[in-house]
């Protein structure tokens, strides 16, 4: 019996876990964290790398190849990954521990909290797949990591935007006195901020462009989107300022209050994270406490477990694509 002939299916977009967030034709740099760490490690013998079976997927394999005797594979065991990093820091090493953001924040929280943060040890936790940067589904989408990590005393929380900033933040972390959690974009990482004459500074926000009609306060890849949206809105004669806030904690309160306090501009906080507990609520709390009350809106992921699918589809669906940001700002005027 002949099998019935099926009509050809339309080709679907991929939901591959390692899809790049770079847009077609966007300028990129490969593995900025891995290469930056190798350069730093040449100067600083105390730097060691640890991972929980994700070296290749956090760009730490580049360090492992360059310094095999300073690389520690802990297996798929995030609790011992974090605690062992704490133990190495106690003995004078500068550990960079990598995994995915979901696993660090959800599986290893007590270990980061008690072994690392409570004793203020200089462990650098560098985590790939922050927010919605994989279409693989809720098991790998760290839409809640900033909320979780922000709640931890002593922990500095970073959400860099692009390859340029990841390199600089990696260097800035080396001698930072306490623990740091950094969200990582890995693989082919977009290169954007080099054109803005920007230099990362721990704890500092930076006004990347000024504008009279609206202010976007953003972190991580949403700064990239905000800058693209601002350019697109120029055509509509809408003048959008972008304040980039790569250090989520401690917040650069002075810069945020200065920019949000300018009259006549609605404030949007844009982040690659749930509306709960991330940069948006941090900024909202700051403004409320400080008596600065501009019109305010969040551009963030919904408080839901998100769908699996292709990243461009999902970013559009959940309102963090450039087009979605443009629509939100235009509609809010």
């Amino acid at each position: 019996m002949n099998a019935p002939t099926l009509p050809p299916k339309p080709r679907l977009k991929t939901s591959a876990m390692i899809a790049s967030i770079a847009a077609a034709g966007q300028k990129t740099k490969p593995a900025p964290f891995g290469h930056a760490l190798v350069a730093l490690a040449r100067e600083r013998p105390e730097i060691v790398g640890l991972t929980a079976d994700l070296a290749k997927y956090t760009d730490l394999h580049i360090f492992a190849q360059a310094f095999p005797d300073r690389f520690y594979q802990m297996g798929m065991a995030e609790q011992v990954l974090m605690s062992a990093a704490a133990g190495m820091a106690r003995e004078g090493s500068i550990p960079f521990a990598t995994t995915y953001a979901v696993f660090a924040s959800r599986r290893a929280y007590d270990f980061i909290c008690m072994a690392i943060a409570e004793e203020n040890l200089p462990v650098r936790i560098v985590c790939a797949l922050p927010g919605l940067t994989t279409g693989y589904g809720p098991s790998h989408q760290a839409t809640d990591d900033l909320a979780i990590m922000r709640a931890m005393p002593n922990l500095t929380v970073l959400d860099p935007c692009d390859a340029h900033e990841i390199e600089q933040a990696t260097a800035a972390m080396v001698d930072h006195p306490g623990p740091v959690y950094m969200r990582l974009l890995r693989g082919q990482v977009p290169l954007v901020l080099d054109e803005y004459g920007y230099t990362f500074e721990m704890g500092k926000a930076a006004l990347l462009r000024d504008g009279a009609d609206a202010l976007v306060v953003s972190s991580g890849l949403m700064t990239m989107r905000a800058l693209e949206a601002a350019k697109a809105l120029e055509a509509d004669r809408v003048d959008v300022a972008v304040l980039h806030v790569p250090t989520i904690k401690p917040l650069d309160e002075a810069a945020i209050l200065r920019e949000a306090g300018r009259t006549g501009r609605k404030v949007y906080v844009a982040e690659n994270h749930s509306v709960v507990g991330g940069l948006g609520e941090a900024v909202a709390g700051l403004l409320m406490r400080s008596g600065v009350h501009p019109a305010f809106a969040q551009i963030a992921l919904p408080d839901r477990f998100l769908d699996a699918g292709a990243l461009p589809t999902l970013h559009d669906r959940y309102g963090i694509s450039t087009d979605a940001v443009v629509r939100r700002i235009r509609d809010g005027l």
């Binding site: 133990g87 090493s93 008690m114 072994a115």
Partner: protein, 281 residues
């Protein structure tokens, strides 16, 4: 302590007695404390601090010291007693135990107390931190050991077994784990709460040099600690110690077993009297 002298072990029963006595005095200050655990672990601490470990009491952070990681924070009362006996914490501080602004809080915390290396209390942390410390010490070519005192209840935690794998995989021959098996945890006898036996078979299967001894037999402990330090294969070491809660105070040994054994106000003095009566002369 540094370079044990011949006959050094003769002091150990007296050291263990002093640790028990000091722990009871601290318990009396607050009218509470994990005293039954302190009494059961005193012999282990006496052998660790006064036979096995290299220390400089006047310099608790001396780089060459052996590290002692107490993951079971509620055993702090016992470790404080050992630190007082070792001269690391002044004896006068007994009176502050568990009080406001004391350096001797009820649960062990690294930033509070000289000689308290890690913050315990959330169980299953000590052995994973020790893994990293052993790796870090090897990077420095240090010959120091890391001792981790854990409890049988702590073997319920998955992180302990992550560390068991890591210790063997990374060939940490500078790691000595000590398990206080008193067969009691918060909800009842450990064997009823979650069966972890057979412990020797499990740890051997994980690749550890494993010994099991009577944790209240000082001679057996000395032999086991010596063997753990001198073992010449690149394996982590573990000493599983069976102990008796309340050891040394007969009415507490006989009391119904509980994770937290009540001692009434008038019983603290009685406990000290019974302890002293049993002191070998």
């Amino acid at each position: 302590m540094t370079a044990p002298q011949p006959g050094h072990n003769l002091d150990l029963p007296a050291r263990a007695h002093a640790i028990r006595r000091t722990a009871l005095q601290m318990g009396a200050v607050q009218g509470q404390g994990y005293i039954a655990q302190a009494l059961d672990v005193a012999d282990i601490l006496a052998v660790a601090y006064f036979h096995a470990m290299t220390l400089r009491p006047e310099d608790p952070h001396w780089e060459g010291r052996d590290r002692f990681y107490l993951s079971i924070g509620h055993y702090a009362i016992a470790l404080y007693a050992a630190l007082i006996e070792a001269g690391i914490v002044p004896r006068e501080e007994i009176e502050t135990y568990g009080g406001d602004d004391s350096r001797l809080p009820m649960s062990g915390m690294a930033t509070y107390t000289p000689g308290m290396e890690i913050t315990g209390g959330s169980l299953g942390h000590g052995l994973p931190i020790a893994i990293g410390a052993c790796l870090g010490l090897k990077r420095k070519n240090s010959s120091a050991f890391v001792y981790n005192l854990l409890s049988d209840g702590e073997l319920d935690e998955g992180s302990t077994w992550e560390a068991a794998l890591a210790g063997a995989h990374h060939k940490l021959d500078n790691l000595i784990a000590i398990v206080d098996v008193n067969n009691q945890q918060a909800d009842g006898p450990s064997g009823d709460v979650l069966r972890t036996e057979p412990l020797v078979d499990k740890w051997r299967a994980f690749g550890w040099f494993t010994q099991r001894v009577d944790g209240n037999d000082i001679d057996a402990l000395v032999t086991a600690f010596d063997a753990a330090r001198r073992h010449d294969r690149p394996e982590p070491r573990i000493i599983i110690c069976d102990t008796l809660m309340g050891r040394g105070v007969p009415f507490l040994e006989a009391r119904e077993k509980n994770h937290f054994i009540r001692v009434d106000e008038h019983e603290w003095d009685q406990a000290l009297l019974q302890l002293d009566a049993a002191l070998p002369r």
